[in-house]
Structures are given as structure tokens and as C-alpha cells.
């Protein structure tokens, strides 16, 4: 048989190539290196995820804006028009919290079943499995960025200036919500393989979680006093989303106290913490989130060994 003897095809020696080790347990360090090396796969998975989601729909990616717009409209109608909460610029207030919450919810919701849904792939092709839930988070980030653009447009339309002193905190807040969503996503994706109920449980849990975060209502106006008298403020802030949502609201909605549009009395909308307090709180949370994320990867590593036989 004849073969082309092209010199470029000649295989170079492998004596110095790096060695990959497959053993019962991949340590955290190599796991992170591996993840970093496969970032291109992550990117491709995110792109294909988004493509598939809006494939064949006429409005396509526009849905990622329409969907939250409808939610926004409904909440506005119910709380501002019907229930008359009297918050001025309620749309801005709602939207600034909702973008952040949507990112978290989209990520966790998609990631929870992702290993089970892609069983065919997981059983046949080798790649770091945590990339699948991380890709779900990645798609959520894309939708988040789109919605942030819409939020900025809103600010222009309503001539509403953000708190410029807070802007520099936003990247940290974003990192926090990213890491938190990734942590929950990675852990839930792995556990769902063993307990399929978690997917349904998560749906319910996310609803509860939403109302436990100050997205629709004002934390200072509705909750702070009661929480204070019962000494459970700390408990409330055990939910990382609470602080993150407040940071976003403080940045975009700005005003800590406003005059009610109904009767003109003063409403305390947001905590009167200084921007530096938000900065320190977010930094402290970042440290916690990094640790949590590493713990999540470790848990995932423990659980992934039996994926093949459980799927």
C-alpha cells in the first residue's frame, strides 16, 4: 500500500510530553488545571447551549430579554399598580435585583439536571464533567450580560443615574454571584445523578429562595425591623443572594430613602451602609465563595466516580 510521505505528518517524539494521570481521585489542583486547559470546550458548550435554546424560534436571543421583561411587567403591575407599594421608580428597583436573581436561577435550574440529561455524552466521552454545569452557568452569564445592557438602557430612558461610588464593587459582586451559582450548580448536578427528585425539589426551592431574597420587596422597608426584633438578621443574610441583590439595588436604584408616590411619607428602601461597607462585605463574601467553590469541586470529584454506573 502506498502512503503519502509528507514530512509534516511525521510524528514528533513524545518523550517530553506532559503526563496525565487517571486515578481513583483527582486532586483539586490538577482538577483546576484541567478545567483551565479545557476552557475552549466550556466556551463551545456555552455557545451551542444558547444556539440550541433559541434554534428555530423567530425572535431568538430576543427572548432572553422578553422573558424577564414580562416578569418585570407582571411584578410592576401587581405590586406597584394593584397593591400600590408606593415605591418611586419601582421598575429600576425591581430590575436591578431581578437581573442578578435571574442569572442565579437560570444557572442553577439548567445545571441541576445537566449530567442526567447528557448521560449519553458523560458515559462515552472523556472530559472534565464539571464543565457541563459550568457551561449552564456560562449561558446564564451571557443572558445576564444582555439583561444588564437592557438595564443600562432603562437608566438612560428614566434619566436615572447610578451610584458611581458603587460601580467599582460590581465586578466583585458579579464574581460572587458567579461563584455562588457555580457552587450550587456543580453540587446539584452531581447529587441529581443519585437522587433524581432533586430536579423537581430545586424548582420549588428556587421559588422559596426568590422570595427570601429582597428582589420584589424592599429589604429595609418590609423586613429589617421585624428581623431586628427577632434577632434573625444574620440568618436572613446567610442567603448570599440577599447581600448581592442589595448591592445591585444600591448601585442602580441608589436612593436609601424615598418619598412614597401614594401619600408622600418617607420609605426606607435600602440599608444606609456606606459604599465602603458594601465593598468589604462583598470582599469577605468573595473569600467565602472561593472556598465554597473549591469545596463544591471536591464534592463533585467524590461523586463523579460512579456517574457511569448510575446513569
Amino acid at each position: 500500500m502506498e502512503y503519502p510521505s509528507s514530512s509534516e505528518a511525521v510524528h514528533e517524539g513524545l518523550a517530553n510530553a506532559p503526563v496525565r494521570v487517571m486515578s481513583a481521585r483527582v486532586k483539586l489542583g490538577p482538577r483546576l488545571v484541567n478545567l483551565w486547559n479545557r476552557r475552549e470546550l466550556l466556551r463551545n458548550l456555552v455557545i451551542s447551549d444558547i444556539r440550541i435554546k433559541y434554534k428555530g424560534s423567530a425572535l431568538g436571543l430576543l427572548w432572553s430579554m422578553l422573558n424577564p421583561a414580562f416578569t418585570l411587567g407582571i411584578y410592576y403591575l401587581v405590586f406597584s399598580v394593584v397593591l400600590k407599594n408606593g415605591y418611586p421608580n419601582y421598575v429600576i428597583f425591581l430590575f436591578s435585583g431581578l437581573v442578578l436573581w435571574n442569572m442565579f436561577q437560570n444557572a442553577v435550574f439548567a445545571a441541576t439536571g445537566v449530567i442526567v440529561d447528557r448521560a449519553g455524552l458523560v458515559k462515552k466521552v472523556s472530559f472534565p464533567r464539571e464543565i457541563l454545569p459550568l457551561a449552564s452557568v456560562g449561558s446564564a452569564v451571557i443572558y445576564f450580560l444582555i439583561q444588564i445592557c437592557v438595564l443600562v438602557i432603562f437608566l438612560f430612558v428614566f434619566h436615572h443615574a447610578p451610584e458611581w461610588n458603587m460601580i467599582e464593587i460590581l465586578p466583585i459582586t458579579f464574581a460572587n454571584v458567579y461563584l455562588f451559582a457555580a457552587t450550587v450548580s456543580v453540587v446539584m448536578a452531581a447529587f441529581t445523578v443519585y437522587m433524581r427528585d432533586l430536579k423537581h425539589l430545586m424548582e420549588v426551592l428556587l421559588q422559596l429562595w426568590f422570595w427570601m431574597s429582597p428582589v420584589v420587596y424592599s429589604y429595609s422597608n418590609s423586613l429589617a425591623t421585624q428581623l431586628g426584633t427577632h434577632h434573625i438578621k444574620l440568618l436572613y443574610f446567610m442567603n448570599p443572594m440577599a447581600l448581592l441583590v442589595l448591592t445591585f439595588q444600591r448601585t442602580f436604584y441608589v436612593a436609601t430613602s424615598v418619598k412614597s408616590t401614594i401619600d408622600g411619607h418617607v420609605i426606607h428602601m435600602l440599608p444606609t451602609w456606606a459604599p465602603s461597607s458594601f465593598l468589604y462585605l462583598n470582599l469577605a463574601m468573595l473569600a467565602i465563595m472561593i472556598v465554597l467553590f473549591l469545596v463544591a469541586l471536591t464534592i463533585f470529584g467524590r461523586l463523579e466516580g460512579n456517574f457511569e454506573s448510575e446513569l
Binding site: A24, R51, K55
Partner: protein
């Protein structure tokens, strides 16, 4: 010095077999510790190495653990203990197209699958045209793969895996894809891989494929490695274990080792033959009991290509207890010059079980004075019509 690209060290893999699977929360809560499970050891202390440029066949019956071993090497499964060290990039053809997204176009899937196999977008960019050309689906590359025929689907996946030029290629029973022409193309590509000094792991239960492609063979039997050596030697052990390990459908048959092939002789004492001449072999077989079965003769070229397999054509060979001679006549040997290996064996009447097998029992030296080349002499006459 050639580097070791795959180093499997003391790998054991065990699975828990659940007799009742409690996968929902309710079931887990109701039956916290029931639903007994059993430990099943799929691989026991497997150790071997593969060097650059080697093609290693992994042989075994269904359930012997060969696919588990392969999945461990590819990283789909993690070994329960022991470790596997890999040097260089690896592409596995475990199930072709497993990574494809039906809604996406062929083009998108090539990139997705390529990166899933661990190659950069840049590398996929470089070889994209080769992939498309190899898969022969130029006109459909921008069509969602859900509209592909199964053949197109598999061809595209195979094309990606071989064109990314991995340092280690792992193939699991996938050479049976596509039509014959495409299969030939795949084999061709595998041979090129070998020439380029890449390592190949070939998992199969086809002895022919191993003989044709591999330089070494490993035999697995219920999770144990029972052979690791030259192809002929491993194939002999593989066949012997076919005998020792009687599947349930032949339980009541006499134990296999009571039939033994002693030797093969020719009346002239020589295995040199002129092309076109006739030759007669006597195969000497010892049997402990009377046995009636089929007899098989295989002739292989030195390149490992099966030239011919013939059997007793429905007329059973009746072995008497003691020594038997089975005569084989080959009139007008149509082989061209070369050295051919002869395998003979006794099979049960259905041909599903080997009673005795002798690998490379003799080599046939054929000399030919004519002008044809290749393996066999054709009576072709070529003229202008």
C-alpha cells in the same frame, strides 16, 4: 528511545450492582439501607504499557472487561484503585457521535466534538477541510445533524477523531461502520497512523482485525489479563480460553482439551509449493473420545490478511479415540509468491465453539514465475473489446 504513552498500573475497577435501584428521594427515605447491592469486579490488577508506535489489540469476550478497561484509559471511568498515566493527546472512538448535538449543524458539531476530545479550536480550524473531505458530506456540513443518515453521522464522527491526529487513538469495535469502501478508508488511515508512530489501542473480539493491525495483543478474561504478548501467542491463548470457558449453550459437550492438534505434514516433507501446483496436507489430531465436528483451514498472508478460510463444508469430521489423520487437498494453489501462515482448528458442528486450534501450524512458501502480483492468481484475460 520510545516513550511509554499509556502506562496502566495495577488498575482495579469494581462496580456496585444494585438489585433494586432507589433513585428517587422517596425510595431512599423509605428504604435507607435496603436494596442490596453486590460488588462486581470488572478489572483485577491490570498492568501493561504501550509505547509510541505500537498497535495493541485488546481481545476478550463480552463481559471480559475490555470496554471497562478502555473507558478507564479514556477517562470516562475512574479506576477504583491503581492509576493510568497517559502521555500526549488521546482520541477515543468509543461510540461514534456520542457528543453530537442533534440540533446543531455538522460544522458546529465538528468544533464541539473536536474541543470535547481536547483539541483547540485552532487545530480544528486547520483540519476542518480534511475532516469534511474524509467524511464525504461536503454538501450537508451546514445541515443540522438530526437530518443526517446514520452513515453520515458516524462518518463525520470518525473523521473528526482521526483527523485531529491524536498521539493515542483508542478504537472500540467501531470499524464496522459505514460501507465497505469507507471501512477500507478507515483501515488505511489506521495504517498511516501506525507509520507515523502513533499508538493505537484496538478493542475487538475479532481475531482477524487484531491479526491484521496489531503488533501486540492483550487478552482479558473475566477482568483478568491472561495474555500480553505477540499477536500469535495471544491469539492462541484467546482461542484456548474459548475452549476452557464453555458458554452455557454447550455445557453437556465433552471437555475441549480432549481434542488436540499434534502436527501437520506433507507427503514430500516440504511446504514449498509452486504456484498452480497441487498440495496435500495431513493434519494429525489426537482425540480422547469419539467426536464429530467441523474442521477449519485458514491461510493468512504475512501482512495478516486472511486469504481464505474454508471448512469441511457440512460433512462432519468423525474423530475416533486416539490418533486421527485429516487430509487436506489444495488443487492448483492459486497463491502468488510469498509466505503464508496456516491455521487449523476443530470446531463443534455449529461452528460456534473451538475444540482445538493451532495457530501458524505451518508456513507455506509459494514460488511463482509469472507476471502477476498480489496475493492470488487470477485467470484474467485483458484485451480490447
Amino acid at each position: 528511545m520510545r516513550a511509554t504513552v499509556v502506562d496502566v498500573a495495577d488498575v482495579t475497577k469494581s462496580f456496585k450492582i444494585h438489585y433494586e435501584r432507589h433513585q428517587s428521594l422517596k425510595e431512599r427515605l423509605l428504604h435507607p439501607r435496603t436494596g442490596h447491592s453486590e460488588e462486581f469486579v470488572a478489572l483485577k490488577d491490570i498492568s501493561f504499557k504501550v509505547e509510541e508506535g505500537e498497535t495493541v489489540g485488546i481481545l476478550g469476550h463480552n463481559g471480559s472487561g475490555k470496554s471497562t478497561l478502555l473507558k478507564c484509559i479514556c477517562g470516562v471511568l475512574q479506576p477504583t484503585s491503581g492509576e493510568i498515566r497517559l502521555r500526549g493527546s488521546l482520541a477515543a472512538l468509543l461510540e461514534l457521535g456520542a457528543g453530537f448535538q442533534l440540533e446543531l449543524s455538522g460544522r458546529d458539531n465538528v468544533y464541539l466534538y473536536g474541543t470535547m476530545l481536547g483539541f483547540s479550536k485552532k487545530r480544528v480550524d486547520q483540519i476542518f477541510d480534511d475532516i469534511v473531505a474524509f467524511s464525504e458530506i461536503e454538501n450537508f456540513i451546514d445541515t443540522p445533524v438530526k437530518f443526517y443518515s446514520s452513515g453520515m453521522y458516524v462518518r463525520l464522527a470518525f473523521a473528526v477523531a482521526v483527523n485531529v491526529n491524536p498521539d493515542i487513538l483508542v478504537i472500540d469495535e467501531v470499524l464496522a461502520v459505514g460501507d465497505e469502501r469507507f471501512q477500507a478508508k478507515c483501515i488505511d488511515r489506521i495504517r498511516r497512523f501506525q507509520q507515523e508512530g502513533r499508538a493505537i489501542l484496538l478493542v475487538t473480539h475479532s481475531a482477524d482485525q487484531v491479526r491484521a493491525l496489531a503488533s501486540r495483543a492483550i487478552v482479558l478474561e473475566s477482568g483478568n489479563m491472561i495474555a500480553n504478548g505477540p499477536v500469535a501467542e495471544s491469539l492462541r491463548i484467546f482461542r484456548e480460553h474459548l475452549l476452557g470457558d464453555t458458554p452455557s449453550n454447550v455445557v453437556n459437550e465433552s471437555h475441549a482439551s480432549d481434542v488436540h492438534i499434534d502436527s501437520i505434514t506433507t507427503p514430500t516433507g516440504s511446504f514449498d509449493v509452486q504456484s498452480g501446483a497441487s498440495v496435500h496436507f495431513d493434519v494429525h489430531v489426537t482425540s480422547a473420545t469419539a467426536y464429530s465436528g467441523n474442521f477449519v483451514l485458514e491461510i493468512f498472508s504475512r501482512a495478516g490478511v486472511l486469504v481464505s478460510r474454508s471448512d469441511a463444508q457440512g460433512a462432519p469430521i468423525n474423530l475416533r479415540p486416539g490418533h486421527n489423520t485429516i487430509g487436506i487437498d489444495l488443487p492448483n494453489v492459486p497463491l502468488l509468491d510469498g509466505v503464508f501462515d496456516i491455521n487449523v482448528g476443530v470446531l463443534d458442528p455449529r461452528g460456534s465453539n473451538v475444540k482445538a486450534w493451532s495457530e501458524k501450524v505451518a508456513t507455506l512458501q509459494v514460488t511463482y514465475g509469472g507476471r502477476q502480483s498480489g496475493l492470488v492468481e487470477l485467470d484474467a484475460s485483458i484485451r480490447q473489446a
